[in-house]
Amino acid sequence: MSGRRRLIGHNGAKGSGSVLRLPSARIAVGILAAIAFLAAFGSVLAPQSPLAINANALFQGPSLHHLLGTDYLGRDVLSRLMVGTRLSVLTAVEAVGIGLVLGAIPGIATVFVGRSFDFAINRVSDALMTLPYIFFAVAVTAALGNGLPQAMIAVGILLAPLFFRVTRAATLEHARAQYVEAAELLGASKLHVIRVHVLRKVLPNIVVTTASMTAAALLAVSFLTFLGIGVQPPTPTWGGVMSSDLDYLAQAPWAPFIPGVLIAVTVGALNALADAFRDRSTAGTLVIADPIVHTDLERADGDRQSQAVA
């Protein structure tokens, strides 16, 4: 007679190993490393100048000389994309950075500062979440000047509420823990509590959110540049390349797929990385198990507590 096949939770097991346990995570990291490399060295490594117009080689398909073909002005697509990586990626990172700082810090703070502060910040966050980002980006570029970095400030501000909500929820969960009360009884200041007890527990949530928000920011960048907001041609960007490709769909139907795949793969990799982080950070929490299965069989030394919890 064997026992019923049911899941037993592994309470207390820390998320073991690194994020790279899963093959999907490894692939994602590989892709992102390549993208980051391109962002850094793209302009140096590009085989040709992204701006070099060649009237004799319009709409060419992939060839030895032009690995990804040429566009409507005869410019090498590969080079354009490689150089454009920097602008796209850096501004996406800029937006996420702004969102992180503007969102995560209040997210932790509102839990510890007074109630009126908490109320006010929450309402600001709610208001921001109602704004559509395209219009907001246009408005900000009108105010600050037409450049992609400026447009991404707008995106960053609009990403902040998401960081805020996630960080706040995670902080709330940990701020009421009994070990925090114990620290308060020892006279701990709120800063001490945050630094010692809360921060490291909230960090996994922040990391996961950062990864997925970077994906969102990258999509936003692509869309904004696709619409031509914030970028002056002939500066290459992923969205920009795709936009001009669509204008000449008849002549080169394959063309938009190239930047499209690039964007999709990068975004996908970021999301896969976010998933991998999330899986790792929840590996240490309690899995709801069949209540009958409560045996902590390793410890037989007066430990009734773990018997009920495993």
């Binding site: 007679m1 899941l7 209540p291």
Partner: protein
Amino acid sequence: MAIDNRKPWPDLVGAERHEGGADEVLRLDDLHVSVHNGAATAVRGVCLRVQAGEIVGLVGESGSGKTLTCRAALGVLPAGCAVERGSVSFAGFEVTALSRRDWERLHGSRMGAVFQDPASYLNPVITVGRQLAEVLRVKLGMRRRAARQRAIELFESVGLRQPERVFDQIPAELSGGMLQRVMIAIAISCDPELLVADEPTTALDVTIQAEVLELLRQLRDDRGLAVLFVSHDLAVITQLCDRIAVFYAGEIVESGPAAEITQRPRHPYTEALLRVASVGDFRRRELEIIAGQPPRVGADITGCRFAARCPVAVPECGSGQVRSVPVGDQHHVRCVHAARSVVAL
């Protein structure tokens, strides 16, 4: 469609029928239970008999194997655990190798169970009355009105005041003691022969615990219910049970009538437990302890498993398996010293 779970099952026609006493409700013979998919043996050579109308207590520290034994008796071992050797017999039928379906027919109708935290075994959004009535309808084929009536009667018989009111309450509205009574009502609703209780009062206030223990005694007296009661609290066990089995490191080291074991313990571990237990003599100021730790679950030890902590261990204790010997009327001890004195007789 009503399922009558009281008929003997056709599947078991070919099964062996043990000739235990006519009243023997549960019988465990040389039970060995392995855990972690066979990696370790957590229960070794357990022999136990429960007759109708008696309360048998299993007592021991955490990890001593008492809980696994009671789960084996119920047929609900956790994943990764299995009966390696020995047998479980219920009402004369060998049930060790029963299929899950047949176990489900046994559960509730002929065997009832109560566990430590009643709230986690009840649906939090359905009234307790409905939950009990559902059991009656499924297991006994009762109609709705009859089931409701019977449920209210059962609530009253387990000592719940205002049973009609309790019928319409959800678990969150009831206290721990009341919930435990509800669980007991559900467990005995189909008039089972055996009730298995695994630490049912551990989480209850002491005054409520006393009431629940009285209830169990009353059920034994009124219905001839056989009860298998598991607890780590020796005081509760000695107060409630007719017979006791003391577990240590997966084995039963002493078993016998409660009065006998309390007054004349023959195993050093039992003696130590008695000293340590929450004693009723409130004037005593000594707090006894047992030095050392029990062995890891499934540890491979030659000879007596308690020898490492035993104040009267001798070299003989480490050689070969120590067998359980009778030292009195239904009183068995697994100790080298007891075996010696028996031989000397």
